[in-house]
Amino acid sequence: MKHKDISDAVLVNRYINGDEQSLSILIYRHKQKIYSFIYSKVFDKDITEDIFQDAFIKVIKNLKLGKYNEEGKFLPWVMRISHNLVIDHFRKSNRMPKFDNSGDFNIFTVLGDPAMNAEKRLIKEQVDCDLRRLIEELPEDQKDVLIMRMYKEMSFKEISQQTDVSINTALGRMRYALINLRKIIEEKNIVLSN
């Protein structure tokens, strides 16, 4: 009698009675359907492989423990186990999302080390120092507004109250401060970048 002619129910019974070869026939008979079913849900071969393995470990345990009621529905039973394991997988991955870095997208192109290295830190210090000196060259009223806005992070309302001028005047002084700074930078050919 060829394997093809033996029903699942008979193979399951034989397996329960100790015939290991029957399990092999059952697995080879249904592996593609079960594997494809799992893959159609998770779209990842490694995860599919894991779930496929876990599903059959459950099948083996249940059969050996005599928990399986034979109703001639071996495949739907394995499918149900696989389906439940797929759900478990998604529950787990929702709780603990895993970043897959195997594709074209590389997270490190987006995430960088925010800490500057020694060279960049030195350049930044130099630029900050140069800028401070340039600001010192501005007229007093413009310099005050710029320092209050950029270094003390005050709002224009607060600046206007502090300097006893209207908000529009404070805005105008800030505008001229920036125009004049640009002029000085252009005149003196200063490079302020890091």
Binding site: L23, I27, Q32, Y35, F52
Partner: protein, 48 residues
């Protein structure tokens, strides 16, 4: 109009199979697993 060619489905299906190593593991696991019945209790034993 350009012709549309889709990938041969049979080729794709052939890839959707578990690895031989997985099946071997399951068959070996099954051979190693035995259930011992003691009164109303059942114990799983994994032999190496």
């Amino acid at each position: 109009m350009a012709k549309l060619y889709s990938e041969c489905p049979s080729k794709k299906d052939a890839l959707l199979n578990p690895k031989e190593a997985t099946i071997d593991f399951l068959l070996n696991y099954s051979k190693a697993l035995s259930v011992i019945k003691c009164n109303d209790l059942k114990f799983e034993v994994l032999q190496n």
